[in-house]
Symmetry: C2
């Protein structure tokens, strides 16, 4: 079998529902190949149609179960949905307990659902660089809904989860969980908050704590709703769905959606320039030159700014 | 009068206590001139001797008054001290009430104290780029102590305040102040916490709240002490000084100091490369090319990654 690599052909197939072609395309984008770049360029005019939702929270908060329920909800109203999971503990990425995996099987065999787990870190700038490109691709080939699931622990993961239309932050009624969320910067990025596992003691306290913390200096026009769910039974998922829909309507009604999306595109342009520049310096200046600069700086033989200019000059003989 | 610009001469004069020469040098560094770069290169072998302390917290928390007291403390034990203020509300930068300014006068007329307010933002990458260079210069010309004061609100300001040996976070006994500090990411960066204005009601609650929040997932070997002060009267400043000294001893004893400083230098090298690259693209690709790319991306005529490569190609004809 010839391995198809023609981007236009792959895009056409992916757009008509060929999941293998789509999986191949995503790999080409993830691996930063010319074909992947061509595919992105090809679909870009068709992007900006998907509703993108980010799900983030501490490991064990139940993000994947919530995601699973949101997928079911989208399917029930007839929408196809793509899931990008960058949470290493997610069952989407294969890291969780058996029960979760079995539940996911339903979606995996559903042709209306495309699930992609991202190799976190690794090549290029890692998930921060790769995820927006993959989300753009999924948008461009026609998914009306894209879910991005990340762990709300690292700065990068939080930024990835926040670079969507609606960011959902999932916490639990554990003591200190809301404070942890605050410390991780999640209160600043959440558009909708979920107290999941709300059948456990302390859910009301968690809601009150979150409410109080959110009331401290939240300058924008949107007051993030706090929804309680028991995702394992499906309880509260309709409320969550309604809250996401409300946020969507709010963004659309106030014109904020267009502004936000434009800002994200410009930010993506800036970050793409950074990534290109960094790759170029790495390629041309090479590992040895970098290592020499690093050691020189640590031993205080050369200051960082002189070393940086030296690396630049080495990278770019004129 | 001839305006002196020879970096070696300026460094020599600054090192022997000529404050005008030093002020001129700092300007040359701030303005990113070749002379400033040469001065930094010249003093770099002599850096790594100063103890650098960052002070951050919300506007109105009393950071400047605390800084003022710490300056007095340093002077009383005979140390010269430099203050870099990037807080626009600081009396060091001229933004505060009369009483504060009058108090500062004592230090301004003291030849053992060098105070520099940084123009926040503006040219280059703003304070994130400029501040570490200025701190390095002050270290290199021989100040045994450098204080960096920033507002703990923006991400950049927090990073600047944290890029020191000891980071001091100042809060007040106001309700919600500790939570605000958590939300701003200050709990993650603080080595020493100060509840200032502790003569007001609620100081004990603030200490307890901070303690509880800090106990949530603080993995390192150092447990940040929480000191109560009334900086306006000087109460508690000795305790604060002792806490900073303790942290210093801890870093030295555990070998963490050398590791931290090396990490900071390597991070500075990486950030210097970024700044160089960005400047180069801006210079060569030009404002018009950037604007064309920006508009093309917003109108979805060209994807951000293709646009970035286009700008790179324009910047660097081979």
């Amino acid at each position: 079998m010839v391995r198809l690599t023609d981007p236009a052909e792959l895009v056409a197939r992916a757009g008509s529902g060929d999941r293998r072609a789509l999986a191949r395309l995503v790999s080409l984008v993830e691996d930063d190949t010319p074909e992947g770049a061509a595919a992105l360029a090809g679909v870009f005019a068709d992007t900006g149609r998907a509703w993108t939702t980010g799900l983030t929270g501490a490991p064990g908060a139940g993000k994947s179960t919530v995601a699973d329920r949101l997928v079911t909800r989208a399917r029930m109203r007839g929408d196809e949905v793509a899931v990008v999971a960058v949470d290493p503990s997610s069952p989407f990425t294969g890291g969780a307990i058996l029960g979760d995996r079995i539940r996911m099987q339903d979606h995996i065999s559903d042709a209306g659902v495309f699930i992609r787990s991202m190799a976190s870190r690794g090549h290029l700038g890692g998930i921060a660089v790769t995820t927006p490109r993959v989300v753009t691709l999924l948008d461009g080939v026609g998914f009306p809904e894209v879910l991005v699931e990340t762990v709300g622990v690292g700065q990068v993961e939080v930024e990835v989860a926040a670079a969507v239309d609606t960011t959902v932050v999932v916490v639990n009624p554990r003591w200190g969980d809301s404070i942890q969320a605050a410390k991780a910067g999640l209160l600043e990025v959440g558009d909708v908050f979920v107290v999941n596992k709300a059948d456990r003691p302390g859910a009301d306290d968690s809601v009150r704590d979150l409410r109080q913390m959110l009331e401290l200096g939240h300058p924008e026009g949107w007051w993030p709703p706090i929804v309680t769910t028991v995702a394992s039974t499906g309880e509260g998922i309709d409320d969550l769905g309604a809250a996401i829909d409300d946020h969507r309507a709010h963004l659309a009604d106030t014109g904020t959606l267009a502004v936000r999306r434009q800002q994200r595109l410009v930010a993506e342009l800036a970050s793409a320039i950074d990534a290109e520049l960094r790759r170029e310096v790495r390629q041309v200046a090479g590992d040895e030159a970098w290592e020499a600069a690093r050691v020189g700086v640590i031993e205080r033989r050369v200051d960082p700014w002189t070393a940086a200019r030296g690396l630049m000059a080495a990278a770019r003989p004129r």
